[in-house]
């Protein structure tokens, strides 16, 4: 009994230590945002003397926050919807058809799972510009969807669809449903768990992507949050106490999303690895 109690306390101590190691940088980030530079230099880890939101006010303005947030949302939401629609249809075809053509296509998709898209970035620039999509959200969305995130989504969806019994659609087919309709009415609703995984993984990846908007969006009014952060660093940056709030503001939406949807997010990450 004594021994069990001691072990419990040992575990508790372990939890606290782990939390400190992981949480300290985050704590430091947040408390610093309320401090003046002198205060931050004097006691980096102490609590701020007052909840001073002036740093945030400046950051919100410098980042053009509302607009950047809107741009992030537009890009992430559209890209995720397109991914779900295109990837689920493609994955369905791949797992249901015996045709060699589709198997070949699948193998080509899989290339994108291993090969970093970065190797294609310069020619990609020409292509996007040739399609007249430079400096548009559409361009960034298309690159995010087709160039970066499609293969993994197809891979995950295909794995899941393979486990869905064929009998269901055969029945629907006999009822006179066409292939297309069968997919959307019968199969797609069954894919909910894996779709939620695909949505979460892609939303995280696209929201946090820096390179794509950096290369393909130039107008300040189209910039996403990370571009706004980046704009404010560099050789001419001002106070770090006014820079930290920008870091907080740029990650805040996803952190809130994570806190609210924690279980879903973690389930999504797990499903993304095991179901494949």
């Amino acid at each position: 009994m004594m021994r069990k109690k001691a072990t419990t306390w040992l575990y508790r101590l372990g939890f606290v230590l782990i939390s400190i190691v992981v949480g300290l940088p985050l704590y430091y980030l947040v408390v610093t945002t309320f401090k003046t530079p002198e205060e931050a230099a004097l006691s980096p880890l102490g609590l701020p003397s007052s909840l001073n939101f002036a740093n945030y006010e400046r950051a919100l303005e410098a980042m053009n926050y509302g607009n950047a947030l809107k741009n992030n949302l537009v890009i992430t939401v559209s890209a995720v919807i397109l991914l779900v629609v295109f990837a689920s249809m493609a994955a369905y075809v791949i797992s249901r058809s015996q045709s060699k053509l589709f198997k070949t296509m699948y193998n080509i998709f899989l290339v994108g799972l291993i090969i970093p898209f970065q190797i294609a970035i310069v020619p990609l620039y020409q292509i996007i510009s040739g399609l007249n999509l430079m400096n548009t959200h559409t361009g960034v969305i298309l690159v995010s969807v087709f160039c970066i995130n499609l293969p993994l989504s197809i891979f995950l969806l295909r794995g899941f669809i393979s486990t869905v019994p064929v009998e269901l659609e055969e029945a629907a087919f006999l009822d006179g449903c066409g292939t297309f309709k069968t997919f959307w009415l019968v199969i797609f609703p069954l894919l909910k768990p894996i779709i939620s995984t695909v949505v979460i993984l892609n939303a995280l990846a696209i929201w946090n992507d820096f390179l794509t908007p950096l290369l393909f969006l130039q107008s300040p009014d189209k910039a996403v949050l990370l571009q706004e952060v980046y704009k404010n660093v560099g050789p001419f940056s001002t106070n770090w106490t006014s820079f930290f709030p920008m870091l907080v503001l740029s990650v805040l939406p996803l952190v809130v999303f994570y806190i609210m949807m924690q279980k879903r997010v973690i389930e999504g990450v797990v499903a993304g690895s095991v179901k494949g």
Binding site: V22, M89, L142, F210, V255, V269, V270
Partner: protein, 293 residues
């Protein structure tokens, strides 16, 4: 019972994804291969074939070679550290106990932050000036300050630490899910055999973690090869060339100097390195799988 018609509908269903992928991924990738054999540059008016000249330059350029070896070193090390830390955390936190869930959630949290932001944050935390948090803590305990990002022998590891901090939680939740699927009867059997907890870990837990291990290893390896954002935010490849990676070199040497063809050649080398590395890992994983099954 399905006719030709079904195949036609299938084609229409897969085509949007395939055409998009083809135009925006396959075509530019092939173009990179093509350009690597030319003198393509923003500053050159004519495009000429130069054969393997770009590759020759690349392999004789010690700086580029250093960046390739840095990248491989980084990818291998992050794979090892991230997974060891994640497995230990998973085993430790996979408990039905007060506080375990909170700790798990917190450990995962850094993974939702953008890498760029993490990089900027740690650039300050690891600064060698007065407000560098790490050095403040070390000095508080009476140690000597460490030049985290300015010491050429250390900088790559400093960057690595931030990424282990950020991504171990991600791998951890995958390991935990895998642990949960292990039949507890196996542990009871081991208990009867009188196995200690360390032995139980190596004889029962680890072999059964195979699916999660193989997935996580491949993912961290490929992710590590692509490393860019964090370097961009923390060291810009410096000091000197100590933290240059394939991606930073590709952008610096190629784009900034306008040597696009050279960058394309590096892209091709990148492709080959990723391919070889992941092959090697897959072979090892397969061998391990055969051994445990």
């Amino acid at each position: 019972m399905y006719g030709k018609k079904r195949e036609r509908v299938f084609l229409l269903m897969i085509l949007p994804a395939f055409v998009g992928f083809f135009i925006l991924f396959i075509v530019p990738t092939l173009m990179s291969f093509f350009y690597s054999l030319t003198n393509w540059s923003v500053y050159n008016a004519d495009l000429d074939f130069v054969g393997l000249a770009n590759y020759k330059q690349l392999f004789s350029d010690t700086k580029t070679m250093a960046s390739i070896s840095n990248t491989v070193k980084y990818a291998v090390l992050i794979t090892i550290f991230q997974n060891i830390v994640a497995i230990l955390l998973a085993v430790f936190l996979n408990k039905k106990m007060k506080g375990a869930n909170f700790t798990k959630s917190l450990v995962f949290l850094p993974a939702v932050l953008s890498i760029l932001v993490t990089g900027f944050l740690f650039q300050y935390i690891m600064s060698s000036s007065d407000f560098g948090l790490f050095n403040r803590i070390i000095q508080f305990f009476g140690g000597q300050p460490i030049n985290w990002l300015g010491d050429a022998d250390l900088a790559l590891y400093s960057v690595l630490i931030t990424q282990v901090w950020q991504w171990s939680g991600w791998s951890m939740v995958i390991y935990i899910a895998n642990l949960k699927s292990i039949d507890s009867a196996l542990y009871e059997a081991a208990d009867i055999d009188g196995a200690g907890s360390v032995r139980k870990f190596f004889t029962v837990t680890l072999p059964l973690l195979y699916p999660a291990v193989s997935f996580n290893i491949l993912m961290s390896l490929i992710g590590g090869m692509k490393v860019f954002d964090v370097i961009f935010a923390m060291t810009k490849g410096g000091p000197g060339y100590a933290t240059e990676t394939i991606m930073t070199t590709m952008i610096r040497e190629g784009f900034n100097s306008g040597r696009n063809a050279y960058a394309s050649a590096l892209a091709v080398v990148f492709f080959i390195v990723v391919f070889i590395l992941s092959r090697i890992v897959i072979i090892f994983l397969n061998r391990w799988e055969r051994k445990i099954s």
